[in-house]
Symmetry: C2
Subunit: 328 residues, 2 copies
């Protein structure tokens, strides 16, 4: 594609040629991709280790972007996704875990400055929700609730076709909604949050507490105990393992009932490793949700489904953010 060297080209054609760069900065990998607006498949993509706790993070980020960056001047915007907390309005990372170098760090401004291209940032859960809305399970819906159940619980909300970001950019932190004021401690240091009941570590914590109380199980207190091991034990019929997932599903149902009352979506999309276990978690989830929703109308036409985009959700969300914010 020839570089536009000042020749007047009709506006529509320029739009067609524009490229969006998307980056998903994960805990272990940084992935970058270049997209044209008309295709869901990237023109080019690249991944490198994040090495969050090592210096040089910005240089690694810039280098992985350069690896996919087209040299034809067609890049219209860059979208970045990262774990929070962060400020999507300013593009600053606030306090990403395991990365002291990036505390209160102007990530999007630095990238924008380096490439001379407008750059946008939001957190991974918001972007996965945005990706499912634009390209995945939520296509065609206007009101979407995305929940990822994994090591933590994150969420993204689309209300009336718009990503809910909030004043400080900290909206939709639904893993930290209080489910029971007297509930167990959460990874964030507070207690009683949904994440403290239904995340992978919460399931493990419950198993440990029951083992300590003398409940018999094939599960043992050791370093390899994680949510996947509990799920395997449950699939082999271990009563404690089954109960641990049922309990997580029950609290997830309580949380989602409240989220329906708050956001009234037409679709709830579940992502994250823990949500892959299927009926082990979702039988009790559905029963609990149905029991807790205070008006039957919330459930009319409501779709509850799994995320479709898998590992690409972060990249596609960063792309959708850039397209949305740059108004492409």
């Amino acid at each position: 594609m020839p570089k536009n060297e000042g020749v007047k080209i009709p506006y529509g054609i320029i739009v067609h040629m524009s490229t969006i760069i998307a980056v998903d900065i994960g805990g272990t990998q940084m992935r970058a991709a270049a997209y044209t607006q008309d295709k869901i498949k990237p023109l080019k993509q690249k991944k490198i280790p994040t090495l969050a706790s090592e210096p040089g993070g910005l240089e690694r980020l810039i280098s992985v972007i350069e690896d996919v960056y087209p040299k034809d001047g067609s890049v219209a915007a860059i979208g970045l996704g990262s774990p929070g907390p962060l400020d999507p309005h300013t593009g600053y990372l606030l306090a990403p875990p395991n990365n002291p170098e990036w505390h209160n760090f102007p990530l999007a401004p630095r990238v924008a400055e380096h490439f001379g291209v407008q750059t946008f940032l939001d957190n991974d859960a918001n972007l996965a929700g945005l990706a499912e809305y634009r390209f995945g399970a939520g296509k065609g819906h206007h009101h979407l609730l995305y929940i990822t159940v994994s090591t933590g619980i994150g969420a993204g909300v689309i209300a009336d076709d718009r990503l809910l970001q909030g004043y400080h950019g900290l909206a939709a932190e639904l893993g930290h909604v209080i489910i029971d004021p007297n509930g167990p401690p959460c990874s964030c240091g507070f207690s009683g949050h949904l994440e403290a009941f239904s995340s992978g570590p919460a399931i493990v914590r419950y198993v440990l507490s029951q083992l300590d109380a003398g409940v018999t199980s094939v599960l043992k207190r050791d370093d390899s105990l994680n949510a996947r091991v509990v799920a395997e034990a449950a699939q082999k019929g271990d009563a404690l393992a089954i109960q641990a997932y049922q309990r997580a599903g029950e609290y997830l149902g309580i949380g989602v009932a409240s989220f329906l009352h708050a956001f009234d979506p037409s679709i709830v999309v579940f992502g994250g490793g823990v949500s892959q276990v299927g009926s082990l978690l979702f039988d009790s989830f559905h029963a609990s949700l149905k029991q807790r929703v205070f008006h039957p109308r919330y459930l009319e036409g409501l779709v509850i489904t799994r995320a479709e985009l898998g590992d690409d959700a972060g990249l596609l969300g960063a792309r959708a953010l850039a397209e949305m914010k740059a108004d492409l």
Copy 2:
């Protein structure tokens, strides 16, 4: 003002001349007003008894609208506010309390048909929130949370300058967010909702439970016991009455902490009779909120204040809804 009889008038002038009719259908009174867009004071207003349980509700509504209706053809839109549940997308009332005639009733379509003017409907709490955002305590904010604490607890949310309505129009039912899964019964028949902890009747119910348990107090179990009587006893130093409000405030703080995590507003506006008691409720509310918000950034620049519009919130909200939906 002369009627526009086909003479071509520049667009801007027609907009200036248009009138909005607003109606607030309350439990005891129906109020109607005619507004021009440039003034907060109505051109004309009228109120009549609602008589919700008596037949002829639609006729009374039409008649009170006719009383304020300008005869110059200038009416551009009609906005109606009513207690829910209702569907703002279709304009149907679903099941208003004490009014069997209006169950599943096409209120907005009937009014639109009668007057030949586009007509919009939403619930009283959403509209009070919208009114405070447009004309009251929330002017200039883009992310607002309005909470009315009264016989029930209702809410209205503005996210990024838009009223959050949801797929079925049932968003922001924050009085029915689950605060404690094992909590007391709510007026809606479910349990553990914010309304079951912090509404006027919840405060009374707590007092009664403590009296039954033998706690001494100047308060007595009789028919005149209500949240106002409890507040008066508290102001005279009655320990049980003080504790009942403190407890309501504490749970309100837990609820609002979760709402900050969900919506991340820049202002929280409190309306409703119970919220008029001031520090009796709000000292414990503020302490609880501060203790429960999981990241200090939510509180940076956050305004927590009282509603400014009082009894006019319903009318001004119905007006704002009509202006917003008719894109005036």
